[in-house]
């Protein structure tokens, strides 16, 4: 009986592994994946897996590509973990989806940070109408506020 139950258990485990193995999981990249869109060399710092703004670099726009090698389903969801040290400017981030030929197909609404004390904050956004299995590419575009504000991670799922 015990043998049988262990057998059934192992089979169930295998079945669960198969069903949950359907590629619905996401991909996370560190902030160091973000690149300045118009690189003027104005002092973004890449450190400890995050990207930091300088003290006077407000309005700098970065693009953070998220390599996704699996089907995200019909909606691409994004989260960006940021820390905002600026009392005057906020993060403004939105997700973008390009098709296999590099043509923009959709963008999420823009989301803004609300903190100014450097506490980590998660901004969530999504794009619908993503083709199941299409070879699309995804990125998050952010305006970074000044004073060593950081993008800690970007996730697509």
């Amino acid at each position: 009986m015990k043998k049988l139950s262990s057998l059934v258990m192992s089979a169930c485990v295998a079945a669960v592994c198969l069903t949950s193995g359907v590629a619905q999981s996401g991909t996370t990249v560190g902030g160091t994946a973000c690149r300045e869109r118009y690189p003027y060399g104005i002092g973004l710092v890449y450190s400890n897996n995050s990207v930091l703004s300088g003290n006077y670099t407000q309005g700098t726009t970065v693009t953070c590509p998220v390599p996704v090698d699996h089907d995200l389903g019909s909606t691409a969801d994004f989260t960006v973990v940021v820390s905002d040290n600026s009392t005057t400017y906020n993060y403004a981030c939105y997700g973008v989806a390009y098709d296999a030929t590099g043509v923009l197909r959709g963008t999420s609404p823009t989301k803004y940070s609300t903190n100014s004390n450097g506490t980590a904050q998660t901004l969530s956004m999504s794009i619908s109408g993503v083709d199941p299995g299409a070879d699309w590419s995804f990125a998050v575009v952010c305006d970074i506020p000044e004073y060593s504000s950081q993008i800690l991670s970007v996730r697509a799922y």
């Binding site: 057998l7 359907v22 923009l104 823009t110 999504s126 199941p132």
Partner: protein, 227 residues
Amino acid sequence: MSVQNTAQGRSTRLPLVAGGILLLGLGIFLGRSFETPKPASAASRDTTSKVARDKNAMDQERLAVLEQQVLRLQADGMRQQLPAAQASEQAAPKTAEVTDPSAPKPDRAEAARLAELARLKFLDGLADKVNTEPRDPSFRNQTEPVIAQLLPERFGAGVTVDKISCASSICRARVSHPGSTHLSNEKLTAFLDKRGALASLELQLDTREDGVTTLYFLRQQEPQPEQ
């Protein structure tokens, strides 16, 4: 004297004999207690092993059935997740080992075609929504003028914007750019960077027609947290 000696001899030998008997008894007892127990009979041994063999055989059969079911599930999952199965070329030989060789081979072109069809269906759905959804005058009055002002401003010369229409959860604008098949990324970036009140809306682009891009602006609910 000799009688006394004999009596003495007996009295000294008697404990020795008794000790010897005791030792012998102890030896027999210990010998039995350390002896490996034997089965009650050959018949009972055969019955026990037969039951064990039957149980083992049943377990093996069940295991085989379960393995088949697992493989079938795996194959079904792969067929359903065709593009995902194609994601890694390295994974292909690995999966080929466990799936039915007669199963259809993933076709990348076919998957892309189906994906594009799904996308077109989605965009047709958006067009239907604009045409059929009840109008929300408040949303319409707030959004249509912004679209009419911002798009031409950001896209610049050589682009015309017309057919702006808002329902209750969606707006549509038709952008003509006869000089190019697609709206350039430069123009789109100029718009995305400064889209004002339109930043709160999701943007979808229908690019199926050369020289024309239809933009859809969607009101969106908050995304669900990841499970």
